[in-house]
């Protein structure tokens, strides 16, 4: 099954600007981006990202073991935003950036912690797709939990529809 992710250039630039800002104590920033699903040919899915929500500095938890940890207030906000967006089937994606060039993959901590959020997101909004997006300095990867699916599907491409266009293709198979 093919999964593509798309976002406008404006949204991408907004996200990158926010994630690149230094934080008082966290090594990296985290945000939430919302999106809707469109049908592709052969029952594929297209995730169309719509808006971004930065996490305020004071909603991070100081934890030296990880690059960034967000607190319960940020998660509560995310759940509420999901709840109110249920009627429009708007899903939520955890997004952060790895500071290197090239294709990204989930770090050991990413793959341990972030997927644990998905069942909660799905229970609040079970008709939307949710997931994880990790950007690098010049690439981006996504993992999508389609409605009712327990396991993620890696996105085949992420396209930034701006000028210039950015097309990030998945080449890493693991």
């Amino acid at each position: 099954m093919r999964i593509d992710i798309k976002l406008t250039g404006r949204l991408y630039n907004k996200i990158v600007r926010d994630l690149a800002r230094p934080h008082p104590f966290a090594a990296e920033r985290v945000g939430f981006v919302f999106g809707r699903v469109g049908l592709l040919a052969d029952e594929g899915a297209l995730i169309l990202l719509t808006r971004y929500q930065a996490i305020p500095d004071d909603q991070y938890v100081d934890d030296l073991r990880v690059g960034a940890r967000i607190g319960s207030k940020a998660l509560t906000w995310a759940m509420q935003a999901l709840y109110f967006g249920r009627a429009t089937r708007e899903g939520i994606f955890h997004i952060h950036m790895h500071r290197h060039k090239g294709e990204t993959r989930m770090s050991r901590i990413d793959s341990g912690d972030i997927p644990k959020l998905m069942p909660g997101f799905q229970s609040v909004s079970n008709e939307a797709a949710h997931g994880i997006i990790i950007l690098s300095l010049n690439h981006g990867s996504g993992w999508v939990w389609l409605p009712t699916r327990k396991e993620p599907i890696p996105a085949d491409t992420m396209s930034v529809i701006g000028a210039p266009v950015g097309i990030f293709e998945r080449r890493i198979t693991k």
Partner: protein, 267 residues
């Protein structure tokens, strides 16, 4: 493939070839305008195409359909076939998904594209394409030409770039309710419209230039929208006056959140 192949377009950037080859292009209409575009895209090195046209070659097309030959008329060759042969002749490894139908009859494949060229012959058709491109986040590049006036014919045309999150064809003053209403009133009575090859060539080349700029960024200008008007009598192409007088900053017609499959709100 020889590295000489694209050596003359190295000014587009070190990564231009990769960027161009990764991009998926949609093309609606493979007639006078679309056939020019397909040829140029193939020359430049685009590899991924999703193309639609439900028509066959007729005698009256031969004055302008790039790639069509005299034998294609009695053979009723599909315009889709002409386009595929043009592409494969230059890019044998290209991926071409071709549909001999109206795009509205099989719209899902188009959504994979990053850029869609609209070479249709109605305002309604353009409006529908733009809506689809906004919904599924694709740059929309529109071209069209017209010849009006009998006593002193005037050739006109346009190239428009409408991008998600940016000004649309209504914002730019091209699509209006009046034009759509007039066109709706003419349904079935529009007749054959004058069409010739050289304006199509000018418009197609301009449109392809826009696409290459969007993909490679070689001019380093951040194109958010474009509306260029072709004066075939003066042989000029220039920015539309409506753009210079534009007072709109943000498009009020398409919301950033109006994407994806339509959401029906129960009443």
């Amino acid at each position: 493939m020889s590295t000489d192949r694209f050596s003359r377009q190295s000014f587009l950037g070190a990564y231009a070839e990769d960027l161009i080859s990764q991009c998926t292009i949609g093309l609606i209409g493979l007639g006078g305008g679309g056939s020019h575009i397909v040829q140029q895209l193939a020359h430049i090195g685009f590899q991924r195409y999703i193309i639609y046209d439900d028509d066959v070659v007729e005698e009256s097309n031969l004055n302008r359909l790039i790639g069509a030959r005299t034998v294609d008329v009695p053979a009723s060759t599909q315009k889709l076939h002409i386009a595929k042969m043009t592409i494969y002749g230059l890019q044998p490894n290209a991926s071409v998904k071709g549909f001999a139908c109206k795009w509205q009859e099989n719209p899902e494949p188009l959504r994979e594209c990053q850029i869609v060229f609209g070479c249709v012959d109605s305002y309604k058709g353009r409006e529908e394409l733009e809506i689809a491109c906004r919904r599924y986040l694709m740059h929309y590049i529109d071209i069209g030409m017209d010849v009006h006036g009998k006593e002193r014919p005037v050739i006109g045309g346009q190239v428009i770039l409408s991008s998600p999150g940016e000004l649309c064809m209504r914002c730019m003053g091209f699509l209006t309710d009046e034009k759509l209403a007039t066109e709706a009133g003419l349904y079935g009575g529009a007749g054959s419209r004058p069409q010739v090859v050289w304006p199509n060539g000018v418009l197609a080349s301009t449109a392809v230039g826009l696409a290459v700029d969007i993909v490679t960024g070689w001019t380093q200008r951040s194109l958010s929208h474009a509306y260029m008007v072709y004066d075939g009598n003066q042989a000029t192409i220039s920015e539309s006056i409506t753009l210079r007088k534009l007072k709109i900053g943000t498009c009020p017609h398409f919301l950033d959140t109006d994407v994806g499959d339509p959401i029906l709100v129960d009443l």
